[in-house]
């Protein structure tokens, strides 16, 4: 058979298949026609009914949002039912007239009108928008009698979110508020549109946002027969909603309150963690705000005040604001030196009060120096010179690697959104951070300031508490978490958040125990001794001072002469009890002066409450008389705060 015959055969087969395809197409179209015939002739009556007179619509039924309780069952977020007066703008005969008419029956204040106007701008015309919330029974009855006058206005029973403890732990819990365009995008991206039909509120920040899909529940729906006016005539079938899951927190509301009150309104933050499992016991950002303001749509003047207040109460300082850790960095540096084998605990230096590097002189805070200083003494007296030399010996890469392993300069993956990564300085970081070639270069002198927790270093209290907790647990790194269990209210099923270590840092037990001893020494005889005098438990700590701006060399730092905002930030990191640590705290008071002055007394009150059950008598007092330590104001530091 030659190729020509082959080709002929191929064409024959091709034409057969074309014919077959034609038949197949015809058959498929016949099938479609049969379907159309079925729908449009045989079932026409049924569908015409559904489309025309008795249009059946599905009304979503909101699930009850899950509650949030602290570790002892104290309710931090719950729902309550109340009547609201709502308007569907497209159904009214003139919006202004309707509202004016309503104001004769129920009280409608100017603020209610303003809020309504704002909600109106954010919503579509056919959405139901509240004009008044929390109607009294009497108001409901008065409106019901006059209802015929107001098409498009209805009284609805709704569930409202309430935060019974007000501002307590506001930043951690967060709040819910009306869904906006950005939230809608998120819902769509997560393929949750169906479940959010009819949902008006969504978690905006904190746990309310992070656990949104746990708390929300599953929407139910009613199949209702509606008349031409869109009014429900009767319910045909009902699928009840599934309520959202309840959250039980690791947070201790009592401890949280003590910690918040200890700040006495000063700006700052505190993070308390259980080092044995990463449970967050308290997360304070001071000053705070009342999340209840946001639930019904915040009033303009409230928003204005919160948003423009110089103390920035809406900012979650505990996870977002980062500061140089100052001397609280030193115990970590010491541990790094032991772990990398750059130092033994016995090696000592002679501190003349300064460290010469190139043509620069890095000063110790104690004029004339601390004399012979070994590792223990370096932590207890917070000797800068020891760490200048150490940082130079370790090198920036070793420092960055070790601190990174401890969790600094990266997100801790805590279960609330908005966490800052902080800055763990390294040549690599500098290359990425700066665009200009000359700014990208790492100078050896920068390593030296990093060694005492200054320079580019910047961490939140969450970072510092997390890092210290990782040390105290001998290198087992737990993800800091605020939720200990999630309960399904229908089935009673409880999902525990298992505190599994997420990674292990290679630390030697004897090294960690040495650091614990040294930090205990700080409390017994060092910079923390005054704040912890007479405590009923043992504790370890380290004070720190983060400079807000650098003085020109030769100028002497005098905090009283500076405006309050230019005072140093005060740090204290601590743990207790020394033998079996149950709690780690990192405290930072903005412009609080040196570490022992403002931050340490706050930690004292927290420990007193948590370990000895002693409630404080008032906000932690500032200790003006203490000795300033670890502040490096005579440092030659030009770049320290040129950062954003």
């Amino acid at each position: 058979m030659n190729s020509f015959q082959h080709a002929e055969q191929d064409i024959e087969r091709f034409r057969r298949r074309i014919l077959l395809s034609g038949a197949f197409v015809f058959l498929c179209f016949c099938l479609l026609f049969a379907r159309f015939f079925y729908l449009q002739v045989m079932r026409h009556e049924y569908y015409a009914t559904r489309a025309e007179s008795n249009r059946i619509s599905f009304a979503p039924v909101m699930p009850n949002r899950g509650s949030i309780v602290d570790r002892n069952g104290v309710v931090l977020a719950r729902n309550y039912a109340a009547f609201t007066l709502e308007i569907v703008p497209s159904k009214t005969n003139g919006l202004e007239e309707t509202i004016d008419g309503l104001s004769e029956i129920v009280e409608i204040q100017q603020k209610d009108r303003r809020r309504f106007k704002r909600l109106l701008e954010e919503s579509k015309n056919f959405e139901s928008i509240p004009i008044r919330t929390r109607l009294t029974d009497e108001e409901v009855a008065r409106f019901a009698a006059q209802r015929y006058r107001f098409p498009g206005v209805e009284v609805k029973a709704r569930l409202f979110r309430q935060y019974p403890e007000g501002a307590l732990a506001a930043h951690a819990i967060g709040y819910i508020s009306r869904i906006n365009a950005k939230d809608k995008e998120r819902i769509e991206a997560d393929d949750q549109e169906a479940n959010y039909k009819g949902t008006e509120h969504i978690g905006k920040i904190g746990l309310e946002a992070h656990y949104e899909y746990e708390l929300h529940g599953t929407v139910g729906y009613e199949e209702v027969e509606v008349d031409a006016g869109g009014r429900a005539v009767r319910v045909l079938s009902q699928t009840p909603p599934t309520p959202g899951n309840n959250l039980t927190l690791t947070l201790d509301a009592g401890l949280q309150r003590v910690a918040e009150q200890a700040f006495g309104g000063r700006r700052g933050s505190l993070t308390a963690i259980d080092p044995n499992n990463g449970a967050v016991l308290a997360l304070v950002s001071s000053p705070a705000f009342d999340p209840n303001l946001f639930v019904d749509g915040i009033r303009f003047d409230d928003w204005d005040e919160l948003n423009n207040h110089p103390d920035k109460p809406l900012l979650n300082r505990a996870i977002y604001s980062t500061y140089p850790p100052g001397s609280t960095f030193k115990p970590l540096m010491a541990l790094g030196a032991l772990t990398t084998g750059k130092r033994t605990t016995y090696q000592a230096i002679n501190d003349p009060g300064y460290f010469n590097f190139g043509n620069r002189r890095f000063m110790d805070d104690k004029v004339g120096g601390h004399g012979t200083v070994d590792m223990l003494k370096s932590i207890v007296v917070s000797c800068n010179t020891y760490y200048y030399v150490l940082a130079n010996d370790m090198g920036i890469d070793n420092i960055a690697r070790f601190m990174g392993d401890l969790g600094l300069g990266r997100r801790t993956e805590i279960d609330i959104p908005g966490e800052a990564r902080g800055i763990l300085p390294s040549p690599e970081w500098k290359r990425q951070r700066f665009k200009k070639r000359e700014q990208q270069k790492w100078y050896p002198g920068e390593t030296i300031s990093v060694g005492i927790g200054q320079g580019y270093n910047a961490y939140s209290t969450l970072h510092m508490a997390h890092a210290l907790a990782n040390v105290l647990s001998y290198g087992r790194v737990f993800r800091p978490h605020l939720v200990s269990s999630i309960t399904n209210p229908s089935s009673g099923e409880v999902r525990l958040v298992e505190p599994q270590p997420i990674r292990q840092v290679a630390l030697k037990r004897e090294h960690v125990d040495f650091i614990k001893r040294a930090m205990a020494g700080v409390v017994q005889s060092g910079t923390g001794a005054r704040a912890f005098a007479g405590a009923a438990y043992t504790s370890g700590g380290k004070t720190g001072t983060a400079q807000v701006f650098s003085l020109k060399s030769g100028q002497k730092y005098v905090s009283g002469q500076l405006r309050e905002r230019l005072r140093d930030h005060s740090w204290y990191v601590a743990f207790a009890p020394v033998e079996e640590p149950k709690i780690v705290v990192a405290v930072m008071v903005e412009n609080g002066g040196f570490g022992a002055q403002s931050a340490a007394p706050i930690a004292r009150q927290v420990f007193d409450y948590y370990l000895a059950g002693q409630p404080p008598s008032g906000p932690a007092a500032e200790d003006e008389s203490g000795e300033d330590e670890g502040a490096e104001h005579d440092l030659v530091e030009e770049h320290a705060h040129e950062m954003d």
Binding site: S3, H6, A7, D10, I11, R13, F14, R15, R17, I18, S21, G22, V25, F26, C28, F29, L31, L32, F33, R35, F36, F37, L39, Q40, V41, R43, H44, Y46, Y47, A48, R50, A51, E52, F58, P60, E188, A189, D191, E193, A194, N195, K197, V219, Y221, E223
Partner: protein
């Protein structure tokens, strides 16, 4: 002036009147339906669609004048370009609505999977043409591989609708090239056996669509809503329809995507079974004419290409009407020449242009 006249005559010479007529009537129906569907938001969509149509018509005329031999030269580069762009999308694509389908080329955003709809049948037709009359099992295997590579990328985006269209286009070429029946049956059997495995690989939303198809009432607020509302629209249209611009389902905003993928529901509600019958006849004529052109085509390349392009048009129409009337799952496939949208229109008109070119150049080849 002379030159323009010559060009005009040349263009007219490469038009296929039956095809042109059918496409014009379908486009007219499309404009009328878009007018009805979008009347509430002004006429800018109608204007845009008219511009889209003019652009697509220009593409059609240009392609119709291009000899199939020239197209053959473009087959490989176009396919390679398509694959490269698909890889680029996988690496640097823009995510829209959770799918990574678009790539930004400085000024325009293009969807490379759209290129594949044309490049795939051209490439396979070219490949079989090259190996005409010496076809062995390995040639079919190679063709299957050429088909599989881009499809995998498009499935990953994920875009089930486009993947199915491209698989169909490629399969038609292989089928017309003479894939033995027993192999096809074996494949079908294997596919049936593999179905449970595919099920586990599908994305959640794709699974939900299949589940919703089996029982739309299981999710009346979500995915099932589309199908329930479009079925009501079709059914309530009755024999003669509610009349143009009188569809209540349409005008009360019950039908989602009513000017794009679900426009058939609008048409069906307003024109009834009668209108649907006319539409089916038009599509049957379109496919019939395409098959005739393919049967008369002189070369392997043009035969296979014409056949595949024609059946792809059929798949578009069948899948769209099938999904809107609730017998096929909801996949994003427009109704040819009726749905609003420029990209799809250009692809479709390009297909018609190819058919015209193959038909009007058939004699030239014999000479």
């Amino acid at each position: 002036m002379k030159w323009i006249k010559a060009q005009w005559r040349e263009t007219l010479a490469h038009l296929d009147l039956p095809l042109l007529l059918i496409v014009c009537v379908l486009s007219g129906i499309g404009l009328a339906s878009i007018y009805s569907a979008t009347a509430s938001d002004g006429f800018w969509k109608l204007d845009r669609q008219i511009i889209n149509m003019l652009g697509a018509a220009a593409v059609m005329l240009t392609v119709a004048r291009t000899p199939p031999q020239t197209m053959m030269r473009y087959a490989v580069p176009l396919y390679v370009l398509g694959v490269v762009l698909l890889v680029a999308v996988a690496l640097f694509g823009i995510v829209v609505n959770g799918s990574r389908r678009w790539i930004s080329l400085i000024v325009v955003r293009i969807q490379p999977s759209e290129i594949m709809k044309v490049a795939m049948p051209m490439m396979l037709a070219w490949y079989f043409h090259k190996h005409e009359s010496v076809l062995r099992a390995r040639h079919y295997a190679t063709a299957a591989l050429l088909l599989a590579v881009p499809v995998v990328f498009i499935l990953k985006q994920p875009d089930l609708g486009t993947s199915l269209l491209i698989i169909a286009a490629g399969f038609f070429v292989i089928f017309f090239a003479g894939l033995p029946w027993k192999v096809m049956f074996a494949l079908a059997a294997a596919l049936g056996a593999a179905l449970p495995m595919v099920w586990t690989m599908l994305h959640d939303y794709q699974r939900r669509r299949v589940m919703t198809l089996l029982d739309p009432t299981s999710d009346p607020l979500g995915a099932g809503y589309h199908i329930i509302q479009s079925t009501i629209a079709i059914g309530s249209g009755g024999t003669l329809g509610k009349g143009w611009l009188n569809g209540t389902q349409t005008h009360l905003e019950f039908i989602p995507e009513k000017h794009t993928d679900f426009i058939f529901a609008v048409f069906s509600e307003e024109w009834g079974l009668l209108g649907n019958g006319v539409l089916l006849i038009l599509f049957t004529l379109l496919v019939g004419r395409g098959l005739m052109i393919s049967a008369a085509a002189p070369t392997m390349f043009s035969r296979l290409l014409a056949g595949a392009v024609t059946l792809t048009l059929f798949i578009y129409a069948f899948v769209n009407m099938g999904m809107v009337s609730g017998i096929l799952p909801v996949v994003g496939v427009p109704l040819p020449f009726i749905s609003y949208g420029g990209t799809a229109l250009i692809t479709l008109m390009l297909g018609v242009g190819i058919l015209m070119s193959i038909h009007t150049h058939r004699m030239l080849v014999k000479k």
